[in-house]
Symmetry: C2
Subunit: 313 residues, 2 copies
């Protein structure tokens, strides 16, 4: 076929695959063989991650449109490439589609395609199956000359975070309480962005460890600290909050897909250039210290902070 896909035979599964391919158009490439074939650039290493979004576990149907759901599932997966400082090479979508979602298949696919194409990531493969609840399992493949682990932070490094936190947590709290989220918070929850270009910029500017914020700033700071064998001292008052979000929400809000990064103290990080380039702030929020009993220590924030381990659970 002229679009580089292989011709396929009949059957219900192939019909559904055809509907998805028609939706994706040029955003998909080479689908239809037993497996996708991808070239990893010379001198770069392959980076791979898989992430599932399951109805009634990660979202409820009424919270967003099918297109938003598809876009968000792709973002959650691609964010793991951002957290390695990698560039995307390809995305595979395993779709579990219940009967009552059949009519939304194109919209779901279009959302996945929108995120993928915004980040220059071709859709290279996938799988469709019936299921009793909607499941989007997205596998992303990327590459980097030097993939950036979460384990490279050393005492003395400075901690920075991208963007402004709290939106997803505030929106989720409202949705779970059957209230309409505040629009800015809703947008951060429904339509987050995988910080691919930002992750590559940070990797190129001396970052020693990088992680994306999926579990919440304090929790992911703990993961980075544990992986690096260090502790982090964070200044709670410095954490950039979305307008109308309180600091506690910003510390605990998950599914942010912002990046938390450590940089050697000798590196003068061009935070102004970062903000001009990407339109979001890059904010210093603490330092890396020798390993203590607790992985994350906090200053500022008053009484709120003492109990953060209980907040994080």
């Amino acid at each position: 076929m002229s679009d580089g896909h292989l011709a396929m035979g009949g059957g219900a599964e192939f019909d559904l695959v055809r509907r998805l391919l028609d939706t994706w158009g040029a955003r998909a490439s080479g689908i239809g063989d037993d497996a996708a074939v991808i070239d990893v650039p010379d001198g770069e290493r392959l980076v791979a991650s898989t992430d599932a979004s399951v109805e009634n576990v990660h979202f409820k149907r009424g919270w967003m449109t099918p297109r938003e759901l598809g876009a968000r599932a792709a973002t959650a997966a691609l964010s793991d490439l951002a957290a390695m400082g990698a560039r995307p090479l390809g995305l595979l979508l395993a779709l579990g589609l219940p009967e009552n979602w059949q009519a939304a298949a194109e919209e779901l696919a279009d959302g996945v395609g929108a995120t993928a194409s915004a980040l220059a990531c071709p859709i290279v493969g996938g799988n469709v199956t019936r299921s009793s609840e909607l499941t989007l399992t997205v596998t992303v493949l990327g590459s980097a000359a030097r993939p950036l682990s979460r384990s490279g932070a050393s005492p003395g490094d400075i901690m920075f975070v991208t963007g402004r936190l709290g939106g997803p947590g505030a929106a989720l709290a409202a949705l779970l309480a059957d209230r309409d989220p505040e629009p800015t918070a809703r947008a951060r929850f429904i339509a987050p962005t995988a910080r691919i270009a930002e992750g590559r910029w940070l990797a190129a500017h001396g970052a020693t460890a990088l992680i994306d914020i999926s579990d919440g700033l304090l929790a992911d700071a703990g993961h980075l600290a544990n992986a690096s064998g260090v502790s982090l001292s964070l200044d709670v008052d410095a954490v950039p909050c979305l307008a109308d979000c309180d600091t506690r929400t910003a510390l605990l809000s998950g599914e942010e897909y912002e990046l938390l990064v450590s940089v050697p103290s000798g590196v003068a990080l061009a935070t102004n250039a970062f903000e001009r380039t990407f339109g979001i702030p890059l904010t210093r929020i603490g330092v890396v210290i020798e390993r203590q009993d607790e992985s994350v220590l906090t200053t500022g924030g008053g009484v709120l902070v003492a109990g953060h381990d209980h907040l994080v659970g």
Copy 2:
């Protein structure tokens, strides 16, 4: 950590991941960062595929043990690498685990690990989530200097198939009728093998197109023919059947994970050496012809054959 995994923090998801990692031991490597990092051998191309096994869609709980289920899900995915003539580089498991499967998590993981280690494929990443039905979505990464598509068959090529067909179809029919499958057929259904080494042998011995038999010989022959823009003329009487299996079952039986391959007529394929090396036959079953209206034409088999398109559905 000494086994190359990163240290992780607390939380229920991490507890489950730890149980899986403990089960896998040395069969997993480098899990715990945002993404896996893998080196594709110089001069080889990356091959990637994803495949889902869903409870009550692909299997019922009573049909096999959790360990067999895990092994079979990994085989189904790895078979797509075999069908490209690729060697495995890594496997990612996205596990959707209902409450009533929680206690079987280690057994499921052990099955995945058994298949992966038998094929020298490290487990490099994954994802765990709650779900309402057991779902194993397995993504496999491999490489080959020249990945073998299903689209390279030309008129005049000879068609071969590995192994003996019919077992999975016969076993499935028995299980669906609440009968005990015949032991040999059951073993072929419950514990199939991904023909990785066989696929690489075929690729190295001049194969022009390769596909694994997941939908049934006739259906997959049709996929290969359609992708290659040719038709296939198959001699039904030549199709190697498992003992006690009839030809009709052998033609339609899916989830075989045997390989169907085309080879130029000038290549003298060493079928005896193949059988000595791998312990399964490599059988000539037909030829590639110019494209006709039907993708697959059959000879032999008597009245059975005329209606195969209806059988294939």
